[in-house]
């Protein structure tokens, strides 16, 4: 609504705080004030608190209660009513639904499933994507991954359905009720920075290894973006349309069903899209707790250090992700454009064709993928990886091998950073965090950040957390350096951008486990490969956000600078980068969150610290170590997120979006 003739709404007339002038001048000197406060506190702290690590008297040992909880759950799992009458049924429902979907897929046969995928893509997104889908499924079969692909699909279907349902309901509550929104927002914000590994352990403890635990962990991971986007869509419904509906005498239900929900359909579809992507991202991680399917193949291939086999199982995941992403995105874009003429007929054709193919497959007894139609890529891939590691690891003339780089990076960057952080008195760390958060964000974010950091100390994992923090900071720095450079390149030359896009897509969707071995083969065991793995994971998002931010810069500003005779360099540094500042800050924030998400993966290649503790907890079923490490990672994530969060979080950027 434009300003003219808008009725004054209750929201827009909140009381103005007294003395706006004072506030403004305060805001002007904010940076200086914070600095002065920090100095005063520094002196006070040095005098009163002394130096050193987090004091033991301020930490709480949770291992006793956690071990007891763990024992209680194990002892009561087959007897306590909570398990028998509630969790057991939850578990049952999951198993039954996954099984049902799996059996349907099996009954369709490979031809039926491929045909169905192609026809759905055709109806929703056109011929090109239809061909892509068919090709993707064919590749899954060719790689000998047909059955695992179906298992993953079955699990995904149930997990995504549950996520969409749960997320949709939560989003509905938050979208319609302000109070629910206030309650749910911080929860969803926290979930956003929660690394998936952190909550595998509790889920496993309750549900045991297996599909139910995997599905539930996936739902916990994938539901928040759905909830967030649903709430966003519902809250953002065009006020004019809503008023028009009310003016026609619509009941609350009618307003919701005929106006508010349809108006939010783009966000809803985007939420579904995000839920699917998150669920796929979880497919491999969930294999650690018995999800089976493709993830399990990747995980098993790791055991025999077989990159080729891991890749053969990883490629179908990437293909599924690409196809599902494009199809749901296309569905979102088509909404509200041309009215679908004769859509019913098209769907009928698609359905008929699918059933025809499925029946034909069944009659000719060709339900399973023909074993002879497979291609073995493991050999060549392993050869390539061996060659790469053999030639890059060390002794490359002039620049030295990757092992030398890793060594130098560890000695000159990681070690000083870690030792420096651990040498800092604990209160000084809290102070720095608070001051930084205050400079960039608000009092609220600063308070959250300091509390999160203090919680780490209370949990008694101060030193490992700082070790992890040093790795995260180093990884973020490298990611930003590379990411912004690549982003600038992609934004300035559309050819570079086009060339980068598929590479980034693959890196983003490829399960991290797959590049674990090449990373170790190149950088050895330790913190350097952990940093490398994090950089590889976080880079795509940073590049994309940077490139998008730069290309979204107002063309008229660029034009005016060109008209003044600015060189390309001057345009970049004086116009594009300053104007793209919000995007760059968002890139920093996303970089931090993503890097932290793979800290646990870093634990698998020698990153040590919290990542190792989390893996250890999972591997040994040790709730005390694992849960505390997981909680500390979450706190670290909250802290870093708040410190790097300049303004209101932009609702649309999900993890890995």
């Amino acid at each position: 609504m434009t300003a003219t003739a808008t009725p004054v709404t209750p929201g827009s007339t909140t009381a103005v705080a007294p003395g706006p002038g004072a506030l403004r001048s305060l805001a002007c000197h904010r940076g200086r004030l914070i600095g002065a406060g920090a100095v005063v506190a520094l002196v006070l702290g040095a005098v009163l608190l002394g130096g050193g690590s987090w004091p033991a008297s301020l930490s709480v040992d949770l291992s006793g209660p956690l071990d007891r909880t763990s024992d209680w759950i194990i002892d009561n799992r087959d007897g306590h009513p909570l398990f028998l009458y509630f969790l057991g049924h939850v578990s049952n429902v999951v198993v039954v639904s996954v099984r049902a979907v799996y059996l349907v897929l099996l009954a369709l046969g490979w031809a039926g499933v491929t045909a169905a995928a192609g026809l759905v893509a055709w109806r929703v997104a056109g011929v090109r994507l239809a061909l892509t889908s068919v090709a993707a499924f064919a590749v899954c079969g060719l790689l000998g991954m047909w059955v695992p692909t179906l298992q993953t699909l079955a699990l995904m279907a149930v997990a995504v359905a549950a996520s969409v349902l749960l997320g949709g309901l939560l989003g509905l509550a938050a979208g319609l009720s302000d109070r629910m929104h206030r309650i749910l927002r911080p929860v969803l914000d926290t979930m956003q920075v929660l690394p998936a590994f952190a909550y595998l352990l509790p889920v496993v403890l309750v549900f045991g290894i297996g599909v139910p635990a995997a599905v539930l962990a996936t739902v916990v991971y994938a539901a928040p973006p759905m909830a967030r986007l649903t709430a966003l869509g519902l809250r953002g419904a065009d006020a004019g349309v809503m008023e028009a509906a009310a003016s026609l005498g619509a009941t609350g239900r009618q307003r919701l069903l005929t106006a508010r929900l349809p108006l939010a359909r783009k966000e809803l579809l985007l939420g579904v899209n995000q839920a699917i992507m998150m669920a796929l991202g979880m497919a491999v991680i969930a294999s650690v707790i018995g999800a089976g399917g493709l993830g399990d193949r990747v995980y098993q291939a790791l055991g025999s250090v077989d990159v080729g086999a891991a890749l053969a199982a990883g490629v179908p995941i990437v293909l599924l992700a690409v196809v599902l992403d494009r199809v749901t995105a296309a569905a979102g874009e088509r909404l509200g454009t041309a009215p679908a003429r004769r859509a019913g007929l098209g769907w009928a054709v698609a359905l008929a064709a699918t059933s025809a193919v499925a029946v034909a497959g069944r009659l000719s007894d060709r339900l399973a993928w023909p074993p002879s139609w497979t291609v073995d890529i493991a050999g060549p891939v392993n050869g390539a990886v061996d060659w790469m590691t053999a030639h890059l690891y060390s002794g490359v003339p002039l620049v030295g091998g990757t092992a030398d780089w890793a060594g130098r990076f560890t000695t000159w960057v990681l070690n000083p950073l870690r030792d420096g952080l651990q040498w800092l008195p604990w209160w000084a760390v809290l102070l720095t965090v608070g001051a930084l958060a205050l400079l960039i964000g608000t009092w609220r974010t600063a308070a959250t950040a300091v509390l999160a950091m203090a919680a780490i100390g209370v949990l008694g994992v101060w030193d490992p957390a700082l070790d992890t923090l040093s790795q995260v900071l180093a990884a973020v720095a490298v990611t930003l350096l590379l990411g912004v450079a690549l982003g600038v390149a992609a934004a300035r030359s559309s050819r570079t951008g086009r060339a980068l896009r598929p590479v980034l897509d693959v890196f983003q969707t490829m399960p991290q486990f797959v590049y674990l071995i090449p990373v170790v083969a190149l950088f050895g065991v330790g913190r350097a490969p952990a940093v490398a793995a994090a950089v590889v994971y976080a880079l795509p998002a940073v590049v994309r956000i940077t490139a998008q931010g730069l290309s979204a810069v107002d063309p008229s500003a660029l034009e005016s600078s060109r008209s003044l005779g600015a060189t390309g360099r001057q345009q970049l540094f004086h116009v594009q980068l300053p104007l793209a500042r919000p995007a760059l800050l968002l890139a920093v924030n996303q970089g931090v969150v993503l890097v932290l998400a793979v800290v646990v993966i870093g634990g698998l290649v020698g990153g040590g610290a919290l990542g190792y503790d989390a893996v250890f907890g999972l591997a040994q079923g040790d709730l005390a170590t694992g849960l505390v490490a997981g909680a500390a990672i979450v706190c670290l994530g909250l802290m870093l997120d708040r410190v790097t969060q300049p303004t209101e979080r932009r609702g649309l950027t999900g993890k890995g979006a």
Partner: protein, 320 residues
Amino acid sequence: MTRTRIAALVTAAALAAGLTGCGAADMTRQASPYADAKSSRTVTLSTQSWVGAQANVAVAQYLLEHELGYRVDTVQIDEVPAWDALSQGRVDAILEDWGHPEQEKRYIDDKGTIARAGDLGVTGHIGWYVPTYFAERHPDVTDWRNLNKYADEFRTAESGGKGQLLDGSPSYVTNDKALVNSLDLDYQVVFAGSEAAQITQIKQFAKEKKPFLTYWYKPQWLFEKVPMTEVKLPAYKEGCDADPEKVACAYPHTPLQKFLNTRFADGGGDAAAFLKKFRWTTEDQNEVALMIAEQKLSPQEAAGRWVKENETTWRAWLPS
């Protein structure tokens, strides 16, 4: 309006609870959703991340499928969670266990949900190893007392100023931190975090003939690729590893054990009988493991080859 909606929700919830909650559901007795639809004769084996364990499972799976007509699912689970899964019946058998007294007490003695199924026939041993090419040049390195002398040679960026002792997966039994302390060694334990990472690192070191000191275990196929010599630690005596904080002796030699879910052991028919009898040697296991890990055969192909050549061995395992 809101009231009616709430009422409707409550009714729906009550209905749902009524429909599903009419009986108890014991989730410790649920089958995998991927179990074969046609046949109910399915066995689920736990396979661990190391290749030796994969070899056991591969051969057992091959024989169960080809000789006994079962369908076999495998699930990769870490050691301790595998006990829990076995107790719940999510898996039917663990074929290679390196000794978990705490779990044995809880699940076998107290709860009775897991039953012993005898020796695997393979003896496992954990120790500290240096590459043989290094031990040949410096024979005295194989005594722990001389390790400090070589600390400099074993230094890496990760271990800082000390020598590096490479440890592996967090799921493995290890006393190394305590050992380094008790024996007053100038070493830093670096956890590779996963066996895959550890093996990759060892191979990289070996490729360049660099010295390294690593936690490792036998039987393991890697010995065939990278010959390694054990460093002698103070001899193992019964009970010397009782206090995990103050261990100062070597790791024991452990006869590896098989375990079955109790319900499966009693009602598992031919499959259970077969798994109880399954027993082979370190050499057998290594042969299969090497085919998987180095020739990159699929576990089933490797098992197929071994089965073809060792019929006398496995005939004895089949129930008469």
